[in-house]
C-alpha cells in the first residue's frame, strides 16, 4: 500500500476507532497489512456482525480484518 492509501486508512481508523472501542467484545483497532484490523476479546460472530454493521454505517466499503487477541491487561 502506498503512503496515500495508508494515510487514508489512518484517517478512517481515527474516525471510527472511538465508536468501535465502545462495542462490546472489541479489544482494539489497528492497521495490519493495509487493512483496518479489529482486535476481538473473543471469537464471536455476533461481535463481527456488530462491527461490520457499524463500519457499514460510518465508513461504507471499508475492508476490515478481524483478529482474536483476547483482552489486554497491563503486564
Amino acid at each position: 500500500m502506498n503512503r496515500d492509501g495508508m494515510n487514508e486508512l489512518e484517517e478512517i481508523k481515527r474516525r471510527v476507532s472511538p465508536k468501535l472501542l465502545q462495542t462490546k467484545g472489541v479489544s482494539g483497532v489497528g492497521i495490519q497489512s493495509g487493512a483496518l484490523t479489529v482486535y476481538l476479546a473473543e471469537d464471536s460472530d455476533d461481535i463481527r456482525r456488530d462491527v461490520a454493521a457499524l463500519l457499514e454505517a460510518e465508513e461504507p466499503g471499508t475492508p476490515v480484518k478481524f483478529l482474536v487477541t483476547g483482552t489486554f491487561r497491563a503486564q
Partner: protein, 347 residues
Amino acid sequence: MSVTSTRDPLLIAKSAAVERYLKTAQPRPTFSASVASVRPEHNVVGVGLGSKLIEGRSTGTVCVRFYVERKIAKDAIPPTLLLPENINEVETDVIESGRFRALQLAVVAPQRARDPRARMRPAHPGCSVGFQFTGDQAGFVMAGTLGAIVKRQAEKKGEKSKEYLLSNNHVLANEGLLPVDSPIFQPGLLDDGNVSTDQIAKLSQFVPLAPATPNDVDCAVAEVLDTKLVRGSILGIGRLADGRPVEATEGMPVEKSGRTTGFTAGTIADTNADVIVGYETGNFTFQNQIIVVGDHGPFSQAGDSGSLIVATVPRRAVALLFAGSATHTIGNPISAVLSALNVVLVH
C-alpha cells in the same frame, strides 16, 4: 485406660492451623503487574507436620509446617499478616512450596543468561524491579521490569549527571498512587527483594493514566541513588547501537529482555493500534500503540512490563512494553515515552 500419644499435641496444633488458615483460604485477586500476596488467606497452600528446618537442615524438633506459595522476607510483611511462631505452644515453620497443581510434564531449558529475578549490582535493564504496596494494599508484593537507564535531556554544564530507571507507571508508581520519592527496589519484593537493603532508586516522575481521554504512554522514571548501582547494557541483548530511537514498521524483527520470560524475539504486527487495557484502577484506552507477536510463543507475560522493545538490526529502541494478552504484546512508541518524560536513553 486412655493412651495418649506424644504426637497428639502436634495433631491438635495442626488441626488448629488447618481451621485457621486453610479453611479460610481465598483466591488471590489478580493484579496488572506480576504480584503475589503474603496475606495468609491467599498465601498458605498447605499445613503439615515435620521436622523444623533451619537453612535447609533438620533441627530434629517436630513442628507445624505452613506451606506457602511465596516465602517473603519478614520485614516486607506487615506484623499483623505474619504467620504465628507457635500454635497451641507448638513451634511452626514456613516452607515455600509454590501453589500445588496437578502434575504436568515440563522440560526446563538450560539457563544461559543471568537470572533477571536475582539481585544484581550493578542492575541491568531486563531485571526485576518494583515498589512496595502501602495502605490497604499492604501484604501484596510485586515485580516488573527495568527497561532502560535514562538521563534528563538538557543538563547544565558541570552539573553532576543524574541517572534514572525507566519503566512503566504501573511498575514504579502503582498506577499513579505512590508519591514522588517512594523507594524502588531491585529485585522487586515478589522476587525476594529486601526493603532494608535493596532500594536502588526513588520515584521521580510518572505520566498519570487518564480515564476519560486516550493515553499515549504508561511510563515513569526513578532517580538512581548512586550511578554505580546501574549499567545501561540490556540482559541477554547488550548495549544499544545508538541512543536514538527508531520508528516501528510493520514486519520489523524485535527483541526484548524481561523479568518473567527473559529474552524473546518477535515481529511488529501493527504500529497504529488503539486498544483498551485493563488495570487495577480500571480500563484505560491507549492510542497509536505498537503490537508485537512472539516468534516462538508469547513475546511477554505478566511481570515483563517495563521491558524495552528493541529492533534486532540495528539494535535501537522501538517501544516500551506495558500490556498484552496471551498472544499479543503492546508497547508505547519509545519516542513518545522519552518525550513525555523529557529524557534520553543512556546506551
